[in-house]
Symmetry: C2
Subunit: 243 residues, 2 copies
């Protein structure tokens, strides 16, 4: 690894950035095996330990997964491991919501409104696709999930969604667009249910509901999905562990 300036970043961080870039550009796709530490160390002309530190950093951020005796793999949402790592809704008995399939309500072309445009940092009116689905608990509607995907990033999403109705949108984005979601930002509010929500969730109009507004960021740091998740919290709650 060529060090242009002696005051530059540590070598292992340079290696890490380069490896992240190689994952990003699709050199190794989700689920695929990376070269071993020794091979990468040879390639970069560094010691194994330095490359190891770069990879350990990536692993701690969830970008890759390491398995002793096998190798280092690009993380996929496909495995048993992190299918719904961003879902924070639980029933009061401790079950995770969203294991079951989502019920598709509607999926249609849409233009970004002010709120969506602000969240995704795009221009108002940008073309996209808006989808509404319902998550159930014990066969009862529990949550309304509304998400917006940008046409220029996820072309043809509407057709794919109607064909597949995937359990996990992020797995769907990974498969079709090679977008790996690594970070989401959520803003939570309490408000009264709208008429549409009351109808979809079998609630009295005006019932207090919890609204989660979420922006999802891909590996490159680009905002790629806007979403709200809305539901009454009589039998479910949003769980958060800090520290």
């Amino acid at each position: 690894m060529t060090v242009l300036k002696p005051t530059a970043q540590p070598l292992y961080q340079q290696v890490k950035q380069h490896l992240v870039h190689r994952v990003l550009t699709g050199e190794w796709k989700p689920g695929q095996l990376l070269p071993s530490e020794f091979k990468l160390a040879d390639e970069y002309g560094l010691s194994q330990g330095t490359v190891r530190k770069a990879i350990e950093d990536m692993a701690s951020e969830g970008l890759v997964t390491r398995q002793a005796g096998k190798g280092t793999f690009v993380t996929t949402h496909d495995g048993d491991y992190h299918p719904f790592r961003f879902h924070r809704f639980y029933s009061d008995q401790g079950e995770r919501i969203a294991k079951d399939e989502a019920v598709l309500v509607s999926s249609s072309p849409a233009k970004a409104d002010t709120r969506i445009a602000k969240g995704l940092d795009i221009r108002k009116g940008t073309a996209g696709c808006k989808t509404v689905r319902i998550r159930q608990l014990h066969a009862e509607p529990a949550l309304v999930e509304t998400f917006f995907l940008i046409d220029s990033i996820c072309p043809g999403a509407r057709d794919f969604l109607e064909q597949e109705n995937p359990k996990s949108v992020y797995l769907f984005m990974e498969r079709h667009y090679n977008l790996l979601i690594t970070k989401v930002l959520e803003q939570l509010r309490a408000r009264s249910a709208t008429e549409q929500e009351a109808e979809l969730l079998n609630l009295e109009p005006g019932t207090p509901v919890l609204e989660v507004e979420r922006i999802a960021y891909s590996l490159g740091g680009e905002a790629v999905e806007w979403r709200t998740i809305v539901g009454a919290t009589d039998h479910i709650h949003y769980r958060n562990e800090l520290g």
Copy 2:
């Protein structure tokens, strides 16, 4: 470090556990300097690198803080660093709530009700101290904070609280009881404001409010505080970053 069984945990994990125990028992108190890596390596009869890995683990968990050229310190909530690391409420302009002082409403002896007892994993009726405070935004009441401390863990808390009215309860617990809060579990719900809440927050009765129910755990993993934070979310929200 004596290895009794060759199949035991890695040495650095054994060292880490032992160091955590020494912090827990107060050998080094919050803010104090730990011995250097070399001294600890000597003490345990290991190489510096092994001790380093143990300490890096502790640092990544926030238990200690490292500073090049100075040393490794037991983390304290006192410094500039993490005064309100568990506060997730922001105004819609992005300001953090709870910078200002909290307004003390009441502080009185209380017995754990069913909900508190369940949260803290103690018997119903356990003696403690219940305190209600208000957090303001721009001199307007924004959040009602209600917390319960157990007498056997925090004796005399009521007197201390009335004397000091501390900005941060966790800093207060650290100073008086050597309890370092490292983890909290929060459950969020939307519901209607109670009469008392409506009065304290200048709301119409029945307004939807966000309720955060929090259990705080000390370094040893013991549940030491139960709390709710309640407020309307017209101008503020709960922010959560995942991944």
